[in-house]
């Protein structure tokens, strides 16, 4: 797994690349935690366009961050999941609690609007 992180104001943009399974779950969790602790971030945007596989170990990492951000009135947004990844997300009920956007810009725009409300 490669991980690209970018912070834009109150949002953490994450672009993982490769397969998200048990082998990378600890690293994935630690990287997200470190970034979330570095600034007052309440929005996490996960760009999944380059993720070819995900299983419950990394879904747990995402869910853990979701639980954390929801407490501070934040949210987690998903961007452009590939079909096989999206089926796993669907089955996990993730789309009931997280929105999916076709690209990062749309996900970020809605965050700006959300904060303006």
């Amino acid at each position: 797994m490669e991980l690209d992180l970018e912070i834009r104001q109150y949002a953490l943009l994450v672009r993982p690349k490769g397969e998200l399974d048990l082998a990378v779950a600890d690293e994935f969790r630690a990287a997200l935690e470190k970034a979330l602790e570095s600034r007052p971030i309440s929005f996490l945007v996960l760009n999944l366009s380059q993720v070819s596989f995900i299983d419950s170990s990394c879904l747990g990492v995402i869910l853990g961050r979701y639980k954390r951000l929801v407490q501070i009135n934040g949210r987690v947004s998903l961007v452009n999941a590939q079909p096989q990844v999206r089926r796993v997300l669907e089955m996990s009920g993730f789309f009931r609690i997280m929105k999916e956007y076709p690209n990062e810009e749309e996900a970020l725009n809605l965050i700006v609007r959300h904060r303006g409300e």
């Binding site: 399974d21 048990l22 082998a23 419950s56 170990s57 879904l59 796993v88 089955m91 996990s92």
Partner: protein, 150 residues
């Protein structure tokens, strides 16, 4: 019992890097049958979950355990057995419930995926005696059941 067309066995240490190895190996083996790409993706997730369970729960993250996989191809079906000699499951019914997990960071979805992505799932386990997960997936089951009717 299905007629055995081909069979392979794998044995590896209970380390997380082997989760990817196991799912790719089983999916490559399964591709000898006419599974769709989607089927193969589902097999990968199911195997991933079973092996991850063996490592995390069976061996409590110890890297010294042995995970065994036996994959058997029938004429139109795959059976995958994933076994460990770890601590076993105390209450299998409880473990099979969605969102049941002994750790708050985990989703408890492992068995849900195995159940949803494979046609049959059987879990044999006892405390101190390891766990054996047996999963079966058939090639295009909707088509073969239609053929049977006509």
């Amino acid at each position: 019992m299905m007629e055995v067309v081909n069979q392979m066995k794998l044995e590896f240490l209970s380390i997380p890097a082997n989760v990817a190895f196991a799912r790719v190996a089983v999916a490559a083996f399964a591709s000898q049958l006419e599974f769709t790409l989607n089927d193969l993706e589902e097999i990968k997730v199911a195997v991933s979950e079973a092996v991850a369970n063996a490592i995390i729960h069976g061996y409590a993250d110890s890297p010294n355990g042995i995970v065994r996989i036996v994959a058997t191809l029938g004429k139109d079906s795959l059976e995958v057995r994933v076994e460990d000699d770890g601590k076993g499951i105390e209450d299998i019914r409880k473990a099979l419930q969605p969102a049941y997990s002994s750790d708050p960071e985990r989703t408890g979805l492992g068995f849900v995926f195995m159940q949803s992505f494979m046609e049959r799932l059987q879990v044999d386990s006892a405390p101190g005696e390891g766990t054996r997960v047996t999963m079966i997936k058939t090639v295009n089951p909707s088509l073969s059941s239609t053929q049977l009717k006509h």
